[in-house]
């Protein structure tokens, strides 16, 4: 810990290479302490409404466990499944030695000022662990909820899918209806062990003046699968993230899907990077981005380091009402025998598609909405249908904002 403290202290002013630089101290409002609740249904209705939109089911029907953090406080943390552990990270760091084997193991604490701050001013976060061989039947849900206007929320999450386990997580990040301004720093480290399967679906439901700086990394061992879905449809001031995945074992697979909407005033800089480090590993990064006045940079980077790996990168962008879209796909093969491809397309909605639908009786607006919905409707193999339904719902809820 002392080593971490020292490194973090040294990096406290270190700017990130990407995204507008943020003065963290401008978000210094002190978050209130929220008491723990025994039952999610006792949360205020306003909170529940917002959480629902970010995919959180406060009745916990068909959920294997939940972690809810309001501002800096872990207010609820529970597992309904014997094969699943859900623990607030502060408690875990205090009581469980093994957690230290995972804390800051995939991300350097001195990456930038946000990682440094996340260590020095850690508020809370979750440790979720699926025990070896356990297939967790229902999704685990987490919610990081920012209520205090002008404050900074700092979380650190660790997710471990032990050997042969399978777990699906849906993570909603949301700002309270009245909160418009805030900073969220989120560190996430994912460990997918041998033959384990982890899907992580994150739905962002932030506000116009929110700044978000996630820093996440994943390691996938032999035969493991990491499926990462990200949906951000609501207005946001700035998000910059470049999650990195290391495929370290034979046959490991990573698949990233993101659906992004940039509203006027939004700066979105989202990427995905996968190192294919072992034979027969496969990676796929697919993004669909729509701007109706915002700035979007969609990055993708595949690095093939050994022969016999396969990767595909796909960035499709749609410009609806002005705005700026920059797709930056990168491939690097360090050796013969890597098979990697990319596909990038940025454009407006094709007029002939609109006219085709109009000739079937749709108005121009209906036709446009139908095409946009289709654009955002990507098939995600391996995702439970309930989670796909949550993604579809998030897309639909924001359709009004998009059009």
């Amino acid at each position: 810990m002392r080593e971490l403290d020292k490194k973090a202290a040294e990096a406290i002013e270190k700017k990130a290479p990407l995204g507008p630089d943020i003065n963290i101290d401008a978000y210094a409002e002190k978050p209130p302490i929220h008491n723990k609740v025994d039952d999610l249904s006792t949360l205020p209705d306003d909170d529940k409404d917002v959480m629902l939109q970010a995919g959180v089911d406060v009745n916990e029907a068909e959920r294997s466990g939940s972690y809810i953090q309001k501002d800096s406080s872990a207010v609820f943390s529970f597992s309904h499944d014997d094969g699943l552990e859900v623990i607030p990270i502060r408690e875990a760091l205090e009581k469980l030695d093994w957690v230290h084997d995972y804390y800051w193991k995939l991300i350097a604490v001195d990456t930038d000022k946000y990682t440094a701050r996340a260590h020095l001013d850690l508020q809370d976060g979750y440790v979720i662990r699926a025990l070896p061989g356990c297939k967790i039947s229902f999704p685990v849900q987490t919610c990081l909820y920012l209520e205090r206007e002008g404050s900074t929320q700092i979380v650190h999450n660790i997710v471990i899918a032990e050997e042969g386990s399978e777990v699906h997580i849906i993570s909603g990040c949301a700002a309270a209806a009245h909160a418009t301004k805030g900073l969220h720093i989120g560190i996430s480290e994912f460990f997918v062990k041998k033959n384990a399967k982890l899907s992580f679906t994150m739905i962002h439901h932030w506000a116009e003046d929110m700044i978000v700086r996630p820093r996440s990394a994943t390691i996938v061992e032999e035969g493991g699968l990491f499926l990462n879905n990200y949906v951000s449809m609501r207005p946001i001031k700035s998000i910059q993230a470049y999650p990195t995945t290391y495929l370290e074992g034979k046959n490991a697979v990573a698949r990233f899907y993101s659906l992004l909407v940039g509203s006027p005033g939004s700066e979105i800089d989202m990427g995905g990077r996968v190192y294919l480090r072992s034979e027969e590993t496969r990676a796929e990064i697919i993004s669909r981005a729509i701007t109706n006045g915002g700035n979007i940079i969609a990055r993708g980077d595949l690095i093939g380091e050994v022969p016999g790996v396969k990767g595909h990168l796909e960035c499709h962008g749609l410009i609806l009402n002005g705005g700026f879209m920059h797709a930056i796909p990168e491939l690097s093969g360090k050796i013969d025998g890597v098979e990697m491809s990319h596909e990038a397309a940025v454009g407006k909605i094709a007029q002939d598609e609109i006219l085709y639908l109009m000739s079937r009786g749709l108005t121009e607006d209906e036709a446009t909405a139908t095409i946009v919905r289709g654009f955002l409707n990507v098939d995600i193999p391996g995702l439970p249908s309930k989670l796909k339904a949550e993604i579809d719902r998030a897309v639909q809820l924001s359709q009004k904002d998009v059009m």
Binding site: E353, L355, M358, S359, R360, G361, T370, G374
Partner: protein, 251 residues
């Protein structure tokens, strides 16, 4: 009834239809012949209302309304529908949803699809990667759901294999209410008189004539409808002597 009067159409600065007069009575089906590039697709797209086809002069009436300046969807609502030669594909829009949209959510998509031998395609994105013949079936399936009164078919049978051609021919027949039989209280002739569906079918191969008994044939040549006559007679003449001769005989 569809009435086209003295229609002149420009596309990309080029005059592609010079002078078109055409009347399709309720219950009538016409076959449209013409060499490549003669403007057949353009005529159908103009009737459907595609804005890039600029009507320089003339008028189009449908069901006694002047539709010359109507938008595409208003025409669709009024009862005009089209099966395209080369429709666009739409990523992420499932064929199932598309057929639902065509039927304004009031149709049984699965039963329509099974009639069209298209069940396996319902969960694919519309037209994405469809083969030439599959596109034709997809288009007809959409028209079945839409059920318009004036049906414009742009080469519905080109690229279709021999087995599916019967399916396509018979479906077009049904859509155009051509498959009528006499009943106890009405003769076939009486029922035929009550038909209202109108059709305009483009064909090069003539295969469709084996299934659809059309009322009239038209030949589009050099931007005008140069000949109207019995469709089978026209087709025979074109086959034997070519378009130019066929048109010469008319004038």
């Amino acid at each position: 009834m569809l009435v086209i009067e003295d229609l002149k159409v420009r596309l990309g600065g080029k005059e592609i239809l010079k002078h078109i007069d055409l009347v399709i009575e309720p219950g009538e089906t016409h076959i449209l012949f013409g060499p490549n590039g003669s403007g057949k697709t353009s005529l159908l797209m103009t009737i459907m209302g595609y804005p890039q086809y600029e009507v320089v002069c003339g008028k189009i009436f449908f069901k006694d309304k002047d539709i010359t300046d109507m938008s595409i969807n208003e025409r669709a609502e009024l009862g005009i529908g089209m099966s395209y030669q080369r429709p666009p594909s739409i990523q992420g829009l499932k064929t199932r949803q598309m057929v639902h949209l065509c039927g304004r959510n009031g149709v049984d998509v699965d039963s329509l699809a099974s009639r069209m031998n298209f069940t396996d395609f319902l969960d694919r994105d519309i037209n994405v990667g469809f083969s030439g013949g599959e596109i034709k079936r997809s288009e007809l399936l959409q028209l079945m759901a839409q059920d318009p009164d004036l049906l414009l078919f742009d080469e519905p049978e080109s690229g279709v294999d021999l087995e599916n051609i019967a399916l396509i021919g018979n479906t077009i027949n049904q859509l155009l209410e051509r498959d009528v039989k006499g009943t106890a209280d009405k003769s076939k002739k009486e029922i035929m008189k009550l038909r209202t569906k109108m059709g305009l079918i483009i064909t090069h191969t003539g295969f469709i004539l084996d299934y659809v008994t059309a009322d009239k044939g038209q030949v589009l040549f050099d931007g005008i409808l140069a000949c109207r006559s019995n469709p089978n007679a026209i087709f025979k003449q074109i086959k034997e002597e070519g378009y130019e001769e066929c048109v010469r005989c008319a004038s």
